[in-house]
Amino acid sequence: MPVVEARNITKTYTIANREIRVLDDVSLSVAEGEFLVVEGSSGSGKTTLLSLLSGLDKPSSGRVLLEEMDITEASEDDLAPLRNETIGFVFQSFHLVPSLTALENVMFPAEIRRDPQAHDKAAELLKRVGLQKRSDNYPHQLSGGEMQRVAMCRAVINNPKIIFADEPTGNLDSENGKAVLDLLLEFKKEHQTTLVLVTHSIDIARIADRMIILKDGRIS
C-alpha cells in the first residue's frame, strides 16, 4: 500500500505572462517503510515536488493521495491533523520557532494533539540527540547542527508515518551532516517510517531503497 502517491501532477508558475512548467506530468508512489531519495540539479523542482507530496502546496493539475486520501483539494484546516500526526518535516534551513526554546519546539506538535506526555517525550528525544543541556536555549543560541537535531526531534515526536526531509544537511558541514543523517536513518529503522529525502550525497543514495532523479520537470 503506498503511503503517498502522485498521479500526473503538473506545477506551473506564471511570471510576467510567461508560464514556467516546473513539474510536468509526474507520477510517483512511495510504499510504506520505503526510503526514497530525490536527486536533481538545482532548480529542477525537488523542493516543489516535496511540497506537493506533503500538501504544503497544490498542484496545477493532477492528484496527490496521502494514505489513500485525496489531499489535492484539502483545506489548510483539513491538512492540519495530517501535518501534525502523519507527516514530519525537516528543512534545509531548520525553521524552528524563534520564540520557543529547543524543548518547547520539540514539544509543540505533541502539545497540539494534547499528548500528556509531550514534555517527557521531548526531553527524552533531546537527550537521545545529545542536547539535554541545550533544552532551554532559544534557536538563535544554537549552532546549525544543533538546530537541525532539534528540528529532527520535532519532526518525529508524534511518530509520523512519513518524513519529508529537504536537504537536511545542506546547511551543515560534513561531520554535522553525517550525525543528523545517522539519526534520521536510525529513527527510520526503529519505527519503519517512510522517508522521502532530497539530497546530493551519493553515499546516501547508495543505501536508499530507491532513487529518482528530476530533470526538466520529469523523473528520469
Binding site: 523542493t47 511540497s51 504544503l56 502546496d57 489548510e76 484546516d77 492540519a80 491533523p81 495530517l82 501535518r83 501534525n84 500526526e85 518535516f89 528543512f91 534545509q92 534551513s93 525553521h95 524552528l96 520557532v97 524563534p98 520564540s99 520557543l100 518547547e104 509543540f108 506538535p109 502539545e111 497540539i112 494533539r113 534557536p139 538563535h140 520535532r154 508524534n158
Partner: protein, 835 residues
Amino acid sequence: MKNGILHPRFIVRQIVRSRRQAIVFVLCVALSIVTLISLNGFSASVNASLLNDAKTLHAADIIIQSYYEISPGTVNTVRQFEDQNEIIGHRVWEFYSVVRNRKGRDSLLAKLKIVQPGYPFYGQVVLKSGRKFAGVLTPGSIIVAQRLLDRLNLKVGDPLHVGSTTLTIKDVVLQEPDQPVNIFLLGPRIFIAAADIDRLDLVKKGSRVRHFYLIKVLQEDKIRSIADRLRDVSDAEQERVDTYRTARSRIKRFFDNLFFDLSLISIFTLLLAGIGIQSALTAFLKEKEKTIAIMKTVGAKSHFITRQYIFILSILGLAGTIIGLLAGLLLQSGLDVLFRGFLPENIALIISWRAVLEGLCLGVLVVGLFSFIPLHRLKDIKPVIIFRKERIRSQARLPIYLSGFLILAFFVLLVFWQVNELKTALYFILGVILLIVITAVSTGAVLLILKRSRVRSLLIRQAIKGLFRPKNATRPIIITLTASFAVIFAIYLIEQNLDASFIQSYPGDAPNVFFLDIQPSQLEKFSDVLGLPAQYYPIIRAKIMSINGQKINRQQERRRRGDNLARTFNLTYRNHLLEDEVIVKGGRLYQKSWGDRQVSVMDTVADSNQMKIGDSITFKVQGVPLQARISSIRSRTRESIRPFFYFVFPDNTLRDAPQTIFTAVRIAKPQISALQTKIVENFPNISVIDTTELLMIFTGVVKKLSLIIRFFAAFSIVAGILIILSSILATRYARIQEAVYYKILGARNNFVVKVFTLENLVLGLVSTGQALLISQAASWLICIKVMNISYQPFIIDSILLLGVTLLLVVTVGLLPSISILRKKPVVFLREHTQE
C-alpha cells in the same frame, strides 16, 4: 551618486514595500500636530472674534466696579472729569432678582441690568426687532431675553413685575457686548432704564448689587492717566478701577482656563504621538534591515545609507505634517460645533497663520527628535545579519541618552510655551514624569511575573511567549497604553465624582431653595409667610485687610487661579457648630480666655492660605476694621449644597453689625414656584434662588465641558492605537513566521487566531488593568486632596470602561493580523529559505 541620493525609484520602492509602516508613521506625524494646531487655531479665532476687542467686551474704556455704592470721592472725581469734557460716564447696576408675571403668577430668577441712556459706549445691544437699543429702552420699558418670555409665558407688550413696580416688555435682546455668551447666567437677562431704579426699590444699602461706572475717555492717550487718578481717589478696599486692557472679563478667564486645560491634554497626546513616530519608524526600518545589510556588504557607508532614509523620512514627515495641518484646520471648524453654547452664534473662524507656522515647526521638531534613535540604530546594522539571525545591539549609548535628554527638554519647553505659568507647568511635568515612572516600574514587574510564570495551557503559554518575541515593543506599548488610558480613565472618574457630589446625589434632605438679603426688620413677617421651620443665618459682608499685620496684596490675589483673599466674604456669628461641621484644630469653636476678638476659620481657606491657630486677621466691615485671632479651624463632614461660612464669629462680636439674613429650606419641587412667587410678592427685595434650576444650568455647562475635554482626550487614544499598530507591523515578520510554523506543525488556523487574540488580550489586560489602578489612585487623591469632595470608585463604570478599552486593544491588535493569517506556508518557506 557617491554622496547623493539614490535613484528615485529606489526611494519609491522602499516606501511602497513597507507601505503599512509608512502609513502609520505618516498618521503619527499628522496626529502629533493636529490637536495643538486645531486648538491654537481655534483659540486664535475665539480671541479674534470675541475677546480681542476688549473695549467692546467691557463696553467702555475704564470700568469701576464695586459691591457697594460707588464712593462719593470716586463719583465726584468722575464728575470733575466730565465737567472738563475729558470723559463721559454712565452708571450700570447689575443683580439677580425674582420677577413675576401677572396672569399665571409664575416667577423666575432673572439677571437685571439697569443702564443709563448712552449705554453701551462700544459694541451694540442687538434687539430682535432690529431697532436701536437706546430708542426702545425708555422709562417704564424693559427689554428681556427670549428665555424669560418662554419660561413665564409672556410676549412682547406684556407687563412684568420687577421689585416693587410693573414694567412693560418692549423687545427681546439677542446679544449684548459685555456679555457675549449667556450660558453662565443663572437667570435670563432683563434690561431696565436707570430712570426706573427708584421705583424698583431693589438697589438699597446691603443689597447684593454690583455697581458699575462705565467711562468713555474722549482722548485715547489719556485713558491710563485718568484711570490712575480714579484709582487714587477710589476706595481701594471696595472698588476696582480697570481699563479695558487690565480688566479680565469672566468669559475671557473661562476660555483661558479651558484652553489651558485642553492644551495640557494636547501636549500629552503629542508626547504619545512622538512615541508612535518612534515605533512606526522602527517598524519601517526593521523591514529594511536586510536591504541595508546588503548595501553595506557591497560597500555603502553608514552615513550614505542614513542619508537615504533621512530623505525618505523627510518625504513621509512632510506628508504627515501637511495632512496634520489640513486635518487641524478642518477640525478647527468642527470645534465650532463642539463649543456651541459657549460661543456666540456667529463666530468667525479664521485661519491663524501663526498657528499653521507653529504647527509646521512642531511637526519638523517632533519628527526630528523622535526619529533620531531609530535612524541612529542603522549604524549598528552589520552585514553579518545576512548570514545569521543575530540580534542587533546598539554600541553607543551616549547618543541615545542625548536624544532622551533632548526629547525631555523639548517637552518641558513646549509645556512652558503653552502653559505660561511656572508652577502649573512644573506640576504638570512632574505629574507626567511620575506617571511614566510608576507605569514603567509596574509594567516591568508585571512582565517579569509573566515571564517567570509557568502556565499549563498551550494557548496561554504561546500568547505570553508572543509578548516576549524578540524586538517586540511590548514594554513601551504597555507603558504608553497604560499612561494614556490612565489619563482618560482619571478624567472620566473625576467627572463622575464631581457629578455625583454636586448633581446626582443632591442629598434628599438638603435645602433646595435659598433666600438671600432678608432684612432683620423683615425677619418676623418673612418667617410667617414662609410657614416652614428654618434656620436663619446672619450675613455680614466684609473684606480681609491684612493677616498678621501683613496687608493683602489685592492685585496678586486676583491673579490666583482658585479662590482669593481679595474678594468680599460673608461673615456670620453663632456660638455653636453646624450639624455638618467638626473642629479639626483648636479643640473648641472659641477659646475661653480670648474674649470677643476671635474667629473660627474653615479648613479650606486656612489650608490654602497657610493660616494657623492664633493668627490675627483684620477684616473691614462697612468701613470699620475688625481684628480677630483664629480660635479654631473647622471642616465640613459632607460636601453638598448646604450653607457654610468660611469665617464664624462669637455672637457678641457681630450682633450689632449691619447685616442681612439668609436661610435655606427644603420644599418639594412642584411647590417651589408658588412659594417663590409668594415671597417675592411680599418682599420684593429678597432674592429667592431655586437650586434645582441652578443645578440644571450647572449640569448643562458641566456636560458640555466634559464633552470637550473627552474629545481632546480621545486623541491620545488614537495615539495609543497607532502605537499598537506600529508595534504589530514591527513584528509582522516574526508573526507570519510563527503562524506558518504553527501551521506546518499541524495547528489549525483557529489555534493561530486564538494565540494572537490571547496575546492582545494579555497586553490589553495588563495595560488597562494598570491604567485602572493608577487612575483610581490618582482620582482618589485629586478628589480628596484637591477638590475636597468624597470619592466613589464607580466599580461598574470602571469595569465597563475596562471592557471597552480591552475590546479596542484586541480589535486593533487583530486587524493587521488578518493578512498575516492569510499568508500561505509554502510561499513563506520559499521566501525565507536561506536564512
